[in-house]
């Protein structure tokens, strides 16, 4: 402040105004990007997270019934008052043609109930309200004997909770027992295995691209610029080819009558064609090929900047080539190496087109299941939960990486 005391108040105000203006201009330059990021990235992710815990459908469809259920203990069948109320609301849904939304939600937790709710709704359509509020319970029982089963009422009550963590439990192969305790799911247990498999495949691909990419980048970095640029075109060529074309060319290579098998049979190495396509092996090899440039480019750009005289200096001081490489060259190329590894790993964790086309059943990854729940089973809440967990796992891995290696050293070329 003392430095500013020599300024008159007007000057100070003018200076502050100028500063504010500069800040505003700077902000305006960034604003389009911020708006874009918010709309295309932050907002969808937030809504995805929200969707995985918030499912108000049933609560909106049958509010009165759920109200009446609030003091029901869930042990015996609900009393007539509750059932009559439900019959009234179901009739209303049938006439609005929204009974299917209720059926879909309840059926998700108790398979086989969709048709019970639907057929009952159709039966109640023409019954008048006075009769329903008197003997709705009876009519329900007449329409379908399943209404005498307490399980269906429990399910209606539990799906009526707008906020729940059920999707997260399902995504971790768990379920909540009636007494509230968490237990292993009595049904398909596939998700945890799939997460570990996805991470394993991604790690394998990262290591393979590293093994293939490191020597090649080293070779490129040691060449004359003109030659290196020519060879880099070959590295970039896959980038300019459609992903689908590259994936389907692997189908032509690997199928039982494909290039690889024909050559091996022709050479007499094997008599029967090998099972290459529609395996985890196919997923790994196709993705390694597709993601290789992501490893080579950051590595090459970092290696370009390493002065070869360092290595010569180390050798002249008596280091063996291997030791010189480990102690001098490798640490200097680490920023490119870790950037490439991080890129390849994170991209491959979320891959799904390639595994879907060449992976068969062994080569499926978690994203294929997320797609399945989005596109086929329409279980968006579960898809969102699976996606959120995947996001959390990646953030956790990134955080760990930052703790132990540090992200400051990353160089993306």
């Amino acid at each position: 402040m003392s430095a500013q005391s020599s300024l008159s108040p007007q000057d100070r105000r003018a200076a502050l105004r100028a500063l504010r203006q500069r800040k505003l201009v700077a902000f305006l330059f960034v604003a389009p990007l911020l708006v874009f990021l918010f709309l295309s990235f932050v907002a969808p992710i937030a809504s995805m997270l929200f969707r995985s815990v918030y499912e108000p459908t049933v609560a909106e469809l049958i509010p009165e019934t759920l109200d009446a259920m609030s003091d029901w203990d869930g042990e015996e069948l609900p009393d007539e008052r509750i059932m009559n109320q439900f019959a009234l609301e179901l009739k209303k849904l049938a006439n609005d043609r929204t009974s299917g939304r209720l059926a879909g939600e309840v059926n998700r937790s108790l398979p086989g109930t969709s048709s019970v709710i639907q057929s009952t709704a159709r039966r109640l359509r023409a019954v008048d309200d006075a009769e329903l509020s008197q003997s709705g319970a009876e009519l329900l029982m007449k329409a379908n004997k399943r209404w005498g089963d307490v399980e269906i009422w429990r399910t209606i009550e539990s799906t009526g909770q707008p906020y729940s963590f059920t999707n997260y439990l399902t995504a971790l192969d768990l379920e909540q027992a009636r007494d509230g305790s968490i237990q292993a799911r009595d049904g398909p247990k596939i998700y945890v295995d799939l997460y570990t498999k996805t991470l394993r495949i991604a790690l394998t691909i990262t290591l393979l691209t590293l093994l293939l990419g490191y020597p090649l980048s080293y070779f490129l970095a040691s060449l004359r610029d003109s030659t290196a640029n020519l060879l880099l075109v070959f590295v970039l060529l896959p980038f300019w080819t459609s992903l689908l074309v590259r994936t389907t060319s692997w189908i032509a290579m690997l199928q039982s009558g494909g290039v690889v098998n024909s050559i091996l049979i022709g050479l007499g190495v094997i008599n029967e064609p090998l099972e290459l396509l529609y395996t985890e092996f196919a997923t790994v090899i196709a993705m390694t090929h597709i993601l290789l440039p992501f490893m080579i480019l950051p590595l090459y750009s970092v290696m370009k900047g390493i002065d070869p005289s360092f290595m010569r200096a180390a050798m002249s001081m008596g280091a063996k080539p291997w030791a010189a490489f480990l102690r001098i060259y490798l640490p200097m190329s680490l920023p490119g190496l870790s950037a490439g590894a991080l890129l390849v790993f994170i991209i491959s964790v979320g891959y799904y087109i390639t595994p879907a086309l060449v992976g068969g059943t062994d080569g499926q990854m978690i994203s294929n299941l997320i797609a399945f729940h989005m596109q086929q089973s329409n279980n968006w809440g579960l898809a969102a939960a699976l996606g959120s967990i995947l996001l959390a796992v990646i953030l956790l891995l990134y955080w760990t990486y930052d703790r132990f290696v540090g992200t400051k050293s990353l160089s993306f070329g």
Partner: protein
């Protein structure tokens, strides 16, 4: 005197409102593309455009309800008329994604039979749609590579000892579980009853287990004839029209096995909240007339009106699912609305085991 910026704005608003008005005159029709889509454009869409002078925009999709659900939930309806497989119809209809189609818009058949009598009953079973084709899932083999022992039943498909080779199946529980039970000795009329029980589901998966190592899975119907053609599989599950097209147009040496084929219908429906509902109804009434329906036989899909049969080329008739009804099983949309999701999960679990 308007400021230039305001001029531009009002100009834009005006052209936008004109565009909106114009777009409401364009009907968007969504179907499955490929040779089936081409037949629909030729026999249903172009004739409708000629008669009414209205524009029709044709789009492709790969089935399922997810896209319709997204449109209806967001209130941003892009599609008007959609061709839907009945297996998805029950769900879409009951979840309120589709408009009701009043029966009185349907014209009588060319022979004067009222529509209600002219259509096969299944075509009018749902209030949300009108049946356009009867299609079916069969399996086929390649005559050149089959050897002396030729399969004739679904049980043969599950018999790897007498019929060695890869089986290509579409990667979903539908059809595969039904066939597994039939091959295991369940009578076709009891299949869904058995499949609704836990034991029945275990039994179906156990039967599939016996050939698991010999199965090649594919996702879209277009892959089926390819797999048979390039030797990727010895037996291929397929929609019958795709194999028919390969036999008929590309002269491939394939044979269809009709035993226990699982037939289903496709219907035309209107997405709920469509801005062109009236025009959509007009289009459906036209497309489901006797003559346009007969055009679907180009790809060996059976017409849903009895009066269409007189226009169908006699050479195609033996290849229509409607000519093999006594061997067929009707796919049950209500069952799959009930169990589709849970069996989908169990199927995935079984695949990943």
């Amino acid at each position: 005197m308007m400021k230039p910026i305001a001029k531009i704005l009002t100009g834009t608003a005006l052209s936008l409102s004109l565009a909106a008005a114009a777009s409401s005159q364009v009907l968007t029709f969504v179907s499955f593309g490929g040779s089936y889509g081409a037949a629909q454009e030729q026999h249903m869409v172009s004739t409708f455009v000629e008669q009414t002078g209205k524009q029709v925009l044709v789009e492709d999709y790969s089935g399922g309800v997810a896209e319709m659900k997204a449109q209806v939930e967001s209130g941003n309806i892009q599609w008007d008329v959609v061709d839907i497989e009945v297996i998805d119809l029950e769900r879409a209809c009951s979840e309120g994604l589709l408009e009701e189609i009043p029966r009185d818009i349907l014209p009588p058949g060319v022979d004067g039979t009222p529509a209600i009598k002219d259509f096969v009953p299944a075509a009018l079973a749902s209030e949300c749609g009108v049946g356009v084709i009867v299609w079916t899932v069969i399996y086929a083999y390649n005559n050149d590579t089959i050897g002396a022992n030729k399969p004739t039943t679904v049980a043969d498909l599950f018999d790897t000892k007498n019929f060695p080779g890869k089986r290509a199946l579409r990667k979903r529980p539908q059809v595969n579980l039904e066939w597994a039970l039939i091959a295991d000795g369940v009578s076709p009329d009891k299949v869904y009853e058995v499949l609704a029980t836990d034991d029945g589901q275990k039994r179906a998966f156990a039967k599939l287990d016996t050939i698991k190592d010999d199965i090649v899975w594919f996702d879209s119907w277009s892959q089926a004839p390819q797999l048979l053609n390039d030797g990727g599989a010895a037996f291929v599950q397929s929609a019958n029209g795709r194999i028919f097209a390969a036999i008929n147009e590309e002269k491939r040496p394939f044979t269809i096995v009709w035993d226990s084929h699982l037939y289903d219908l496709d219907v035309m429906s209107i997405v709920r909240g469509s801005k062109n509902k009236e025009l959509g109804l007009e289009f459906i009434a036209h497309a489901t007339g006797s003559v346009p329906l007969a055009g679907m036989a180009d790809v060996a899909y059976g017409p849903t009106r009895k009066s269409s049969m007189q226009f169908v080329d006699k050479a195609v008739t033996p290849h229509l699912p409607t000519s093999h009804m006594e061997k067929g099983v009707k796919a049950d949309g209500v069952f799959w609305a009930d169990y589709g999701e849970t069996l989908g999960e169990k199927f995935n679990e079984w695949l990943l085991k």
